[in-house]
Symmetry: C2
Subunit: 329 residues, 2 copies
DNA sequence: CTGAAAGCGCTTACAG
DNA sequence: CTGAAAGCGCTTACAG
């Protein structure tokens, strides 16, 4: 692998000039610039990223911490984040937390030594206050820290979030508008900050209509199993309902399967609404009514925050969700 | 951030001793070892990964190139690869190719300058021969290159693959055993090496039974849409069949939706079999019959190859698939 | 077993 | 506009 020394020799200039041409960090005469460019091409030179990183104090890598990449919306987010970072020449380091707060803290502790360009925290789980000093330490190294999907501005972290409470409220109101009064909520998952946020919207809508009933709220396992188990258990306990608001599309899909197994028709006997508009939903039969998500937009905002070195602001960027009506409701 | 110099000063030893204790690279007397450890703890020292990488000649990051992270099985693979790499203290850099060969070549060209520890290529798309010299160049830098999901041993790349042809053949034989004679294949996707490999197994089974019919082979779009479009088009063209072998679970899911839309019952009118056993399949109704995948095992093998610095061997590791029978067939 | 010194490949004051 | 030199923070021969 050729180094800047080789390029300098080939071009007949100093190391400094090579570096200046490469980075455009200082004016260089057209003659030397062309010589350097020719040498770079001839040698197929590419700067050693480790050396560059050491010297500059940071790499061009952004770490994305996701709550659980097995969940569809995190996979979609990951895809868009990778693409958005690529636009600014940054690489994506992926770290899957698997819903573990311990793993989050562990990573944040190690982050300063990694010399990252940024850290994006994408979690639905409740984030412990212990992250605050760790984030402060990371920022001391001039690393951008951004939250996606959950509002962490209370820890001074700029956050890009979808509306959750208002969206769930709107969705529940939609079901109320269709005449439903017994609407179950599946997905106030224990430890999920986002899940309980959505729950609050659901509850607000039902309270406003005077039909909130705690017996219709289920917080069980997670993903498909949660949806299925909630339906099965409700049946066992003789709890009646005519609609289900899922805490996620995957939970709603699990509910659809359980309803089918119990011989209930959707939407005739029970209407089902998901959350997140995961691509699969449109291909289910009945297709899943849901609330949209905008991972691509979130990724774009993340990219911009990394570029502008967001630290300091700790602003909140809010992405709206819209109801996507399909045949399950 | 404290450096080794700070640790050395704190411990009253030389830099070399600090490094030796940190890396266990040479014997150090118990007394000094303890002094260094104490200093490391006191200062909460963590080695600068950029400096370490520059000096050692490589980082501890492994790049995973996936064909399309939007496809479920790539997301699952990514999850397991991240976990497996973590066991050896390595980080995962994720690069999504989006089925673009140009992007693959581009990444491989840049790879040597990244000073990675390894590159894992997980693609279903046909890989052009142009990768061969690029891979050779990468290896010159002592970076392990491994293929997952597609046999690239012809380019000298050790490969971890699932059986494809034999599995598809077995699956098709299973449908034949159920009495089906008109079995459609959806998923010989243009440019998909893995897809056409599966197709060959399907064809072999049907030819052995003397019932292969090219009119029943569909290679259209990809993912859900492929399955849906194939069914719709077959219907429009009056092509009859009683079973569908999908080139992937997602394609099969699209087919299920289309069949439902056309008023056909599964499995009574048409049986459907997928490929890959993506988690969603078990929650569909009817649940999807499919062929298993073993991403966790693949990730484990990858980890081992990275550790043993696989280059040179170029062996083939074959993972078996088994038929997972559910209600769609 | 231990330390002083060189060097990995860059970038950036500093001096001209 | 240009170059010689220092230095980012490690690791590893080399000498003792």
């Amino acid at each position: 692998m050729p180094t800047v020394i080789d390029v300098a020799r080939e071009a007949g200039v100093s190391l400094a000039t090579v570096s200046r041409v490469l980075n455009g960090s200082a004016p260089v005469s057209p003659v030397l610039r062309e010589k350097v460019s020719a040498a770079v091409r001839a040698l197929e030179f590419r700067p050693n990223l480790m050396a560059q990183g050491l010297r500059r104090g940071h790499s061009n890598t952004v770490a994305l911490l996701v709550g659980d990449i097995a969940q569809r919306h995190f996979a979609e987010l990951t895809m868009h984040v990778q693409a958005a970072l690529e636009e600014i020449g940054a690489s994506l380091m992926l770290f899957n937390l698997g819903h573990s707060a311990a793993r989050l803290l562990d990573f944040l502790e190690r982050a300063p030594s990694m010399k990252l360009r940024g850290v994006a925290i994408a979690l639905s789980d409740t984030v412990p206050a212990a992250v605050e000093p760790l984030v402060a330490e990371i920022r001391r190294g001039d690393i951008a820290v951004v939250a996606i999907g959950q509002n962490l501005t209370r820890y001074g972290i700029p956050s890009i979030v979808h509306e959750e409470r208002a969206a769930a409220q709107r969705s529940t109101a939609y079901l109320l508008g269709k005449g439903h009064r017994r609407i179950a909520y599946v997905g106030r998952i224990k430890g999920s900050a986002v899940g309980s946020e959505r729950f609050r919207g659901y509850r607000a809508a039902l309270r406003a209509a005077g039909v909130f009933d705690d017996a219709l709220v289920f917080d069980l396992a997670f993903r498909y199993a949660a949806g299925r188990d909630a339906i099965v258990r409700a049946r066992e306990n003789g709890i009646a309902f005519t609609a289900v608001q899922g805490g996620s599309d995957e939970i709603a899909m699990g509910a659809l399967a359980a309803l089918r197994d119990l011989g209930l028709r959707v939407p005739d006997d029970v209407a089902v609404v998901g959350f997140g508009d995961v691509d699969m939903g449109a291909y289910l039969r009945p297709a899943l009514t849901t609330l949209s998500s905008h991972p691509e937009e979130a990724a774009r905002h993340l990219r911009d925050l990394v570029v502008s070195d967001a630290n300091g602001a700790a602003g909140l960027i809010l992405l709206p969700r819209t109801l996507v009506e399909r045949s399950s409701s």
